[in-house]
C-alpha cells in the first residue's frame, strides 16, 4: 500500500502534487472569503488560452537539446512587429490577425536563424547565452520602436506624432477574434474562449505531428545524443537551427494570441521578463531541461495560471495585503532553480 502511494506520488511528481493541492485548497477557501468560484474558473481558462502557445513554443528547443529558451523574447519581438504592422495596414478581424501572424513568422524565421547560428557556437552554454540574447534584443527594440516609421494615429504618441506608444489597444482591429469565435457561455460568469482553445489545439497537433515525422525523430535524437545523430549522418547544427526557428515562430504566434485575448500590444520593456513565467509553467508541468512531453505544456500552464489567478483574489482577501506578485515570483523562479539543479544531479 505504502509502495503504491509512493508510486503514484512519484508518477505525478512532488512539485505538481503540492501546487495542485495548493490550488484545490484555494478553490475550497474561495467562497468563504467572498471570491466567486465561477468567475475564478472563467479567469483560469481565459489565462490558459492566452499563455499556452507561449509555453508550447519552448518544446522544439528542449527536444533538440538547446535547453530552455530563455531567449523567448526574440520570438515575442517578431510577434510584436507582426502585430503593429498589421495594425498599421489597418487590417481588422481574422484578416488582421492572420496578417499579423504571417508577418511575424517572416521575422521569426530571420531572427531564429541568426539566434540558431549563435547558439550553435556556444553549445553547452545555450541557456546562459539565450538569457542575454533575450534581454539585449528587448533593449535594442526599445530604440527601434521609437525610430521605426509607423504612422497610424492609433499607435504613435499623441504629442510629437512619431514613435510607438508603450501600450496599443487591439480594440477595433482584432481584439478577441479567437476568444469570441464559437464562444460558449455557461451562465453569466463563465465564457469559454473556444476559438483560442481550438487554435492552441491546432498548434499542439502540429508540434505533436512534427515529432512523429522523420525530421522530428532526427531532432529528438540530436537532443538525446548529438554524437549518435552525427554518426547516423544527420547534420546536427542544421537540425538545431531548425528547432530554434520553430521555437521562435511559435513564440511569435503565442504573443499575438496573447494580445488578441488581452486586448493590448505592450512594447518597450514589457517583453523583458516574458520567458520566466512560460518556462516556469512548463517545468511545473513536469518537463526538465532535456525532456518534455506535450501534456507537460497543458498541465503546467493550467497549474501555473491557476495559481496566478487565485492567489491575488483569495490570499489578498485573507491577509488583506497584496501578495500575488511575491507568490508569482517565488513560484516561477523557484521552479526554474528546481529544474536546473535536478539536471546537475543527473549529470554527475
Amino acid at each position: 500500500m505504502k509502495k503504491k502511494i509512493r508510486g503514484i506520488i512519484s508518477s505525478i511528481g512532488v512539485p505538481r502534487l503540492l501546487i495542485g493541492l495548493f490550488l484545490i485548497a484555494l478553490f475550497v477557501i474561495a467562497p468563504f472569503v467572498d471570491v466567486r468560484v465561477d468567475t475564478s474558473i472563467n479567469d483560469v481558462i481565459a489565462r490558459f488560452g492566452m499563455n499556452a502557445v507561449l509555453v508550447l513554443s519552448l518544446v522544439p528547443m528542449i527536444k533538440s537539446g538547446c535547453g530552455l529558451n530563455f531567449g523567448l523574447q526574440l520570438g515575442v519581438i517578431a510577434g510584436l512587429i507582426g502585430a503593429v504592422t498589421s495594425l498599421e495596414l489597418k487590417l481588422t478581424g481574422f484578416a488582421g490577425f492572420f496578417a499579423a501572424i504571417g508577418i511575424a513568422i517572416f521575422f521569426a524565421i530571420i531572427f531564429g536563424w541568426l539566434y540558431g547560428l549563435l547558439l550553435n557556437r556556444v553549445k553547452g552554454d545555450e541557456m546562459v547565452v539565450a538569457t542575454y540574447v533575450g534581454f539585449s534584443s528587448v533593449s535594442f527594440m526599445s530604440i527601434m520602436w521609437l525610430i521605426l516609421p509607423y504612422k497610424s494615429p492609433d499607435m504613435v504618441w499623441a504629442y510629437g506624432g512619431s514613435g510607438l506608444r508603450t501600450t496599443i489597444s487591439t480594440e477595433g482591429y482584432w481584439f478577441h477574434v479567437l476568444n469570441d469565435f464559437l464562444k460558449i457561455e455557461l451562465g453569466t460568469h463563465i465564457t469559454i474562449p473556444t476559438g483560442t482553445l481550438l487554435f492552441f489545439g491546432l498548434l499542439t497537433f502540429i508540434i505533436w505531428a512534427f515529432f512523429r515525422t522523420k525530421s522530428g525523430t532526427a531532432m529528438e535524437a540530436v537532443g538525446s545524443n548529438p554524437e549518435y545523430a552525427r554518426s547516423c549522418g544527420i547534420n546536427v547544427d542544421r537540425v538545431r537551427i531548425v528547432s530554434v526557428i520553430m521555437s521562435t515562430i511559435f513564440a511569435a504566434i503565442g504573443i499575438i494570441v496573447y494580445e488578441q485575448s488581452f486586448g493590448f500590444i505592450q512594447l518597450y520593456n514589457a517583453p523583458l521578463l516574458m520567458s520566466f513565467p512560460a518556462i516556469a509553467a512548463l517545468l511545473l508541468g513536469g518537463a526538465s531541461v532535456t525532456k518534455v512531453k506535450i501534456w507537460n505544456v497543458v498541465v503546467g500552464t493550467l497549474l501555473f495560471q491557476g495559481i496566478l489567478t487565485m492567489t491575488p483574489s483569495v490570499i489578498n482577501n485573507i491577509i488583506k495585503s497584496d501578495m500575488s506578485e511575491t507568490i508569482r515570483i517565488i513560484i516561477s523562479n523557484g521552479m526554474i532553480i528546481y529544474a536546473l539543479t535536478r539536471r546537475m544531479k543527473v549529470r554527475s
Binding site: S215, A221, Y228, S231, T290
Partner: protein, 532 residues
C-alpha cells in the same frame, strides 16, 4: 610470514560493475628489489597500482578484496595521502605537476621548509615564511642523486618532457620516508638517451634500498634492470620470471596468452575468399589518441578481418575514419567505387555499418527506448519504417513496424529487457552491446565495422556477441572488419589479423600464427628482429 618482504599483496581481487579486472593477485617485493610489471592494456596493471596507492576511484567503485602488508603492517589506504605517509611514492604516466611552478616549487609542494615570523606567532604555522635557501638546497640534493642536469628554477611548462619526468622522480625521492616507488611507464615519452638515465636512476635508488615497481611496455628495459618480472593477463598473474632465464619473446608470449592458440586453430578451418570488397590505400585519420598514419589493406568479400594492436596505436582510427566520424584523407574503394570520406551519411548509404567502441557516447540513445535505437539509423538513412502522406510531403514514423522489427531482434539476439519500450540506459552493458549489433544488422549492411565489441561486458556476454557476429557472417555472407584490443578474441573469430603499431600496419598474420609473433608486432618489432 612477511619477513624479508617489504610489500606483500595477497589475493587481491577487484571488479568494476561486475566486470572482473583483478583476480587473486599475489605480489611480493623485497626492499631494494626492482620488480617489472608487464601486460597488455586492460590486463589490470594500473588497477593494481591504484589499489596499492590508495586512489579514491577504487573506493568509490566498491573497494577491493585481499590484504596488503606493507612495512610489516596490514594496510588499507583510503587516500593517496595515507600511502605517501606510509612511504609509497608514485610517478604517474601523465605528469602530475603544476606547469606554472618551477622545479623547486613542484618538488617541495606541501613539504615546504619554513621560517617563523611574527604573523605566524599570531595566526599559526600556515603563515610561516618560505625558506627558499633551504628548499633550493634540498632540491639540488635530490637532483644530484639523479646525476642529471636540471635547472631547479625553470618553470615546468618550459621544460622538455624528459626534464618534467625527472622533476616527478626527484619529487618522489626527495621524500625521505619513501620505501617503495611505483613508476608507471616512466620512459614512454622519453628519448632513448633520457630513458637510459631514468633506468640508471632506478638502479641507483634500488641500491639505496628503495623497492621499485616498474611498469613499461618496453620489454628490453625490463630485461635490463629488473630482478623479477611479473606478467599480468586478464587480471591474473600469468607468470613470474627471472630476466636471466627469459627473453622478450617469451614475455610477449605470456602477455598475449598461449593456451588459446591450440584451441583456436583447432576448431576453425582456413576459409578462402576471392573478390576484394574493400580496398584502403594510404588512409590517414586524425582521431585524437588513435591517429592513423597511412594504412593500406584489402578486405575480401565474406571474410572476417581483424585489426589488433595496443591502445593508442591507431587500430580504432581506421573504422572511425572510413565511417566519416573523424577527419581523414586517402583512398577507400568499396566494391570498386571510390567512397567519399568525411561523410557519415554517404558511408551508411553505401551499405557500410559501424558498431562503435564508444557505445554509450556514440553508439546509443541512452534515454530513448530500444525501438528507436534499433530503427533510427535505418529510418534516417534508408527511409524505411516511414509512412508517406500527402504525396511524400509528410514522412511519418511507422511506430508499429519499428516495434515489430525491434521485437524480432530482441528474440534473435536474446536481449534481456522488459519490452521494446524500455530505455536503453537501464540495460546491462552486454545487452546494450546487443542493441548496438541489432542497430547495425537492421541496416542490412554489406560490410560491418565492429570496434571493441566486448569491451566492458562480462564473459558470458562476450561469447554471445562473438558468436552472433560469426553466425551473421556465415549466414548472410556479410564482411566484417573487427578491431579489438583483445588478441584472443581476434584470433577466435578472424580469418586474417592485421596488427597496427604507431598508426601503421606492422603486419598481417593468420590467426594460427604464434602468439609471440603477434606480441612482437604489437611492440613494433618485426619477426626478423626476434633475437634482439
Amino acid at each position: 610470514m612477511s619477513e624479508g618482504y617489504l610489500l606483500k599483496m595477497e589475493s587481491i581481487s577487484k571488479d568494476f560493475y561486475e566486470n572482473q579486472v583483478l583476480q587473486d593477485v599475489n605480489l611480493n617485493v623485497k626492499a631494494g628489489e626492482i620488480v617489472g610489471l608487464v601486460g597488455e592494456n586492460g590486463a589490470g596493471k594500473s588497477t593494481l597500482m591504484n589499489i596499492l596507492f590508495g586512489e579514491e576511484t577504487i573506493h568509490e567503485t566498491g573497494g577491493y578484496r585481499g590484504t596488503i602488508m606493507f612495512d610489516g603492517k596490514e594496510r588499507n589506504f583510503s587516500t593517496s595521502f595515507d600511502a605517501l605517509e606510509a612511504g609509497i611514492g608514485m610517478v604517474h604516466q601523465e605528469f602530475v605537476l603544476i606547469p606554472g611552478f618551477t622545479a623547486v616549487e613542484n618538488i617541495m609542494l606541501n613539504r615546504e621548509i619554513t621560517k617563523d615570523n611574527f604573523v605566524a606567532e599570531v595566526f599559526g604555522d600556515r603563515m610561516n615564511t618560505l625558506d627558499w635557501e633551504a628548499m633550493r638546497k634540498r632540491t639540488n640534493k635530490a637532483i644530484e642523486t639523479l646525476e642529471i642536469n636540471l635547472n631547479p628554477n625553470m618553470l615546468v611548462k618550459d621544460m622538455p618532457v624528459g626534464h618534467r619526468q625527472f622533476t616527478e622522480i626527484a619529487r618522489e625521492i626527495d621524500r625521505e620516508s619513501t620505501k617503495l616507488l611505483i613508476l608507471d611507464e616512466p620512459t614512454a615519452v622519453l628519448a632513448e638517451s633520457e630513458a637510459e638515465i631514468v633506468l640508471k636512476v632506478i638502479k641507483k635508488l634500488s641500491q639505496k634500498g628503495i623497492a621499485i615497481l616498474f611498469i613499461t611496455h618496453r620489454l628490453q628495459e625490463i630485461l635490463d634492470i629488473c630482478d623479477n618480472i611479473v606478467v599480468l593477463r586478464d587480471g591474473k598473474i600469468q607468470k613470474e620470471l627471472k630476466p636471466k632465464e627469459t627473453s622478450a619473446k617469451e614475455i610477449a608470449e605470456y602477455m598475449v596468452g598461449r593456451e588459446l592458440s591450440e584451441q583456436v586453430s583447432g576448431d576453425k578451418k582456413a576459409r578462402k575468399f576471392k573478390e576484394t570488397v574493400l580496398k584502403v590505400e594510404d588512409l590517414w585519420v586524425d582521431m585524437p589518441g588513435e591517429q592513423v598514419n597511412g594504412v593500406s589493406f584489402e578486405v575480401k568479400k565474406g571474410e572476417i578481418f581483424g585489426i589488433g594492436g595496443l591502445t593508442g596505436q591507431g587500430k580504432l582510427g581506421i573504422a572511425n575514419g572510413i565511417m566519416g566520424l573523424y577527419p581523414s584523407e586517402g583512398t577507400v574503394l568499396f566494391n570498386g567505387k571510390e567512397l567519399e570520406l568525411n561523410n557519415p551519411k554517404n558511408a551508411l548509404k553505401n551499405g557500410l555499418a559501424f558498431v562503435s567502441e564508444d557505445r554509450r557516447g556514440l553508439g546509443l540513445l541512452l534515454d530513448q527506448p530500444l525501438s528507436w535505437n534499433v530503427a533510427f539509423t535505418v529510418m534516417q538513412v534508408k527511409e524505411q519504417f516511414i509512412q508517406k502522406h500527402l504525396g511524400g510531403l509528410i514522412k511519418w514514423r511507422d511506430d508499429r513496424a519499428i516495434a515489430e522489427l525491434t521485437r524480432e531482434y530482441i528474440d534473435k539476439l536474446d536481449i534481456k529487457c522488459v519490452s521494446e519500450k524500455q530505455f536503453v540506459r537501464e540495460l546491462s552493458g552486454g545487452n546494450q552491446q546487443k542493441v548496438c549489433l541489432a542497430k547495425a544488422f537492421a541496416q542490412n549492411p554489406e560490410l560491418l565495422f565492429v570496434s571493441e565489441p566486448t569491451r566492458g561486458i562480462d564473459v558470458g556476454a562476450k561469447r554471445l556477441v562473438l558468436d552472433t557476429l560469426r553466425q551473421y557472417n556465415e549466414e548472410y555472407g556479410v564482411t566484417i572488419v573487427i578491431s579489438s584490443s583483445e588478441l584472443e578474441e581476434l584470433r577466435a573469430i578472424s580469418d586474417r589479423i592485421a596488427i597496427v603499431n604507431e598508426g601503421q600496419i606492422a603486419g598481417i598474420l593468420p590467426p594460427s600464427a604464434k602468439p609471440a609473433n603477434f606480441g612482437l608486432l604489437m611492440l613494433g618489432k618485426s619477426e626478423l628482429e626476434e633475437g634482439a
